[in-house]
Subunit: 206 residues, 2 copies
Amino acid sequence: MARLPLYLRALHTLAEGGKRTVSSESLAAAAAVNSAKVRKDLSQLGSYGVRGVGYDVEYLVYQISRELGLTQRWAVVIIGIGNLGHALANYAGFASRGFRVAALLDDDPARVGEQVAGVAVRPVGELAEIVRREDVSIGVISTPAPAAQGVCDRLVDAGVTSILNFAPTLLSVPDGVDVRKVDLSIELQILAFHEQRKTTFEALRA
Amino acid sequence: MARLPLYLRALHTLAEGGKRTVSSESLAAAAAVNSAKVRKDLSQLGSYGVRGVGYDVEYLVYQISRELGLTQRWAVVIIGIGNLGHALANYAGFASRGFRVAALLDDDPARVGEQVAGVAVRPVGELAEIVRREDVSIGVISTPAPAAQGVCDRLVDAGVTSILNFAPTLLSVPDGVDVRKVDLSIELQILAFHEQRKTTFEALRA
DNA sequence: ACGACTTTGTGCGTACGTTCACAAGGACGT
DNA sequence: ACGTCCTTGTGAACGTACGCACAAAGTCGT
């Protein structure tokens, strides 16, 4: 389920606040979802809550992490070390959730050798070797759009089977390879759409 | 609909390729969705295709832009000019879709005054004035998580009614304010989940 | 030891989005 | 002018996700 990471984040916050147990109701509030949904999700992954008490926070964190596969440290390569690549390489949320940046790659010779977040930028040509050596299974594409498909193909050839794409392009990949896309411009357009609805609605009321 | 920006991007690509008309089938292929879905979406916004021919690309671009409210240039403020803020400020996709970066704001005095993408970084204290002067309705939060809620409150106070949040926190806002969130870590966790399913499935086959 | 209270787990009705499949409609060749 | 072919627009079936509401279950105070 796509909501498990949300619960996980909320649980970490609760744990830091010293909470030992949590009810579906308060977890739902912390994750901004319905409490019945929380209970259904959690029951589906077999974790047992205690009726009248709630769920043990620490145990739940473990169960969800296990379900999401976060008990192992996934190796990640980031390709395209522009501003976004820098931001991703420095993003603390990766390390804290069990992801390890195995390499930063860029085609621009001016960027190769630069140290970013304690990792040296390498040329894209070394991709295949790095993937093999470090057992990388996740690739992040933060290149400009025209370069994305080529980089994607090289990732697939190297054996990477999960790709997170920030370039505003549709990637075509063979079966068995997962692609998730994040398009910043699309998010803004959706906001603009709602914003327009709001203003036209106000205009109608006037 | 959340798919309209996808169509729009595909249509722009087609237009650059010189296509004058497009069938629901080929547009569906370009956006990686079902063709019936495309036709339903387009018919719902009243645009008329021509049976036997397809849709006029240019006219469709105009209709979708209109529906999404992209015929006006929305003013956007970006708060938190770290690596991610830099990336956002430089992101070409914003300007090309009718968004205008009205201001870059940061609380760090060391960053104030810096020029990023041709815009000077200003202190957050000037937020309210800028929002009023530039008629800003969309705010982008790219601060660290602990600062996000505070920044969000200031945006709401200033009259911003649409917020794009990159900080890994749940924002609470009053009714009438839209929040969309992008959490990089959650995307990776979802990939890890699928990746784990793939490897355990292979293990079962062996 | 018992009863009241809290919270889980889930059955069920509802609503929504998706997809198939086909009839209506228009273009294009002959 | 007519028939064939292509593509749209949509009715209907399907599957799924959501949320209410309640029974089962376990805790805590007395």
